[in-house]
């Protein structure tokens, strides 16, 4: 415990804080998803599919099923790419944090791209000791989805997309009218609903995965006694990761279908 996130803040843009580990993991996850997807679709055949193509077609069918269960498939066919990107990114992201961590130990201030990430003050305030020195430990490897910045970014994207699709499919008039149905009194409720949707969608995923990683860290404190619980919990975390990817995708589709139907 006591690992800090490597936060990089550009001097000229103080609000643009970047959690380097999160962003690194976002990029790693995206690259892994891309490699899997592109490798699986290198030798496409419309005949009998083999190996990875088979697997990916199964994923496509699965997402098709998710969309089909929430809306009319004729309307929903265009959302298949969104659903596929969501489920693959979240599932792979959820799994990435499970097998390992990658920690750097800093006794001295550490600078990245001209910005101090570990400052004298941080080392001074740190409670972590290493070889008798006060040090700062930075955690670099984790699930990107174990960071609220990532999950909220995704949920906000989804909610914004639902509004865009709503205007596109129903027209601006119907879109606005929906806020006052079934009576104008419901307008505040609708506003709260949109807000709540964004928060719950993002925090559900974040909470599940973050809690899973915290528990792994706690189990690791147990030493050798923790090997069996660790295995059990990591197995369960794979299950949780899959479920959360599924839940996020199906809820996104439900929100979209709510917004594009009369």
């Amino acid at each position: 415990m006591g690992h800090l996130p490597p936060v990089w803040t550009p001097e000229w843009l103080p609000w643009f804080q970047i959690n380097l580990s999160t962003t690194l993991m976002t990029i790693v996850t995206s690259i892994i998803v891309l490699i899997i997807a592109i490798a699986a679709t290198r030798s496409l055949t419309s005949g009998v599919p083999k190996g990875m193509q088979n697997f990916l077609e199964w994923v496509v069918d699965f997402v098709h099923g998710i969309i089909g269960s929430t809306m009319d498939l004729k309307k929903g066919a265009v959302f298949i790419h969104l659903g596929l990107t969501l489920i693959l990114f979240i599932f792979i992201g959820n799994l990435l944090g499970l097998p390992m961590n990658f920690i750097t130990i800093h006794e001295e201030p550490f600078t990245f791209l001209g910005q101090e990430i570990v400052t004298e003050q941080m080392i001074h305030e740190s409670e972590v000791e290493h070889n008798g020195h006060q040090v700062v430990e930075l955690a670099w490897w984790k699930s990107p989805t174990a960071d609220a910045s990532v999950t909220l970014a995704m949920s906000l994207t989804i909610v914004l997309l639902t509004h865009i699709f709503s205007v596109k499919y129903l027209g601006i008039k119907t879109y606005i009218k929906h806020y006052f149905e079934p009576s104008p009194l419901f307008f505040p409720l609708h506003l709260i609903e949109e807000f709540a949707k964004t928060l719950t969608l993002g925090f559900r995923l974040f909470g599940n995965i973050f809690a899973g990683e915290i528990l792994i860290a706690v189990i690791l404190l147990m030493g050798f006694a923790g090997i069996v619980p660790l295995m059990v919990w990591q197995g369960f975390s794979i299950f949780v990761g899959a479920i959360q990817a599924y839940v996020f995708t199906i809820l996104s589709m439900v929100y979209i279908s709510q917004k594009i139907q009369h």
Binding site: T26, L34, I38, V60, I80, S149, V150
Partner: protein, 161 residues
């Protein structure tokens, strides 16, 4: 927990880029291939259905053709039977006619030959009587005896004929 706006914005951008790349290079082609397969399977099912209908049609036609052929064969056998019967009757009748004719002819011939024989005999008798007469004359018979002799002779000849 804190929200890092930089990471937040980078995440949105990264997700958008991932979406675009996946759509362009992975799932776009994959979906079009799946679409193609679906179409080809639909085609195959339709073709199979059409073939089945065709096959049924052919089967029906074949059955009809066999039925017709069987009827025709039956007809031919029937015709052959009647014509052979007719022919047999014809043969028998013509044989009978022929026999009748031959018999007639034979009778005719016999009659003719008999007549011829009678004529020949008459001739011979004539010449014989001349010879006899001359012989009798040679013996110089008396008139009475001679005429008696001729009369007896003629009687004899007449009786014999």
């Amino acid at each position: 927990m804190s929200i890092y706006l930089g990471s937040f914005i980078i995440q949105i951008l990264a997700f958008g880029i991932l979406y675009w790349l996946l759509k362009k290079y992975a799932f776009g082609p994959l979906l079009s291939v799946m679409q193609k397969r679906q179409e080809s399977i639909e085609n195959q099912i339709q073709t199979a259905e059409k073939n089945r209908v065709d096959a049924e049609q052919y089967l029906k036609e074949q059955k009809e053709a066999i039925q017709a052929a069987r009827q025709e064969a039956q007809q031919i056998v029937e015709n052959a039977k009647t014509s052979s019967k007719k022919e047999a009757e014809e043969i028998v009748r013509s044989a009978r006619d022929e026999a009748e004719r031959l018999k007639e002819q034979a009778v005719q011939q016999i009659k003719h030959e008999t007549d011829q024989a009678i004529a020949k005999l008459r001739e011979q008798v004539g010449s014989l009587s001349v010879i006899l007469a001359s012989k009798i004359i040679e013996k110089e018979l008396d008139e009475k005896a001679q005429s008696q002799l001729i009369e007896d002779f003629m009687k004899e000849v007449g009786d014999r004929l």
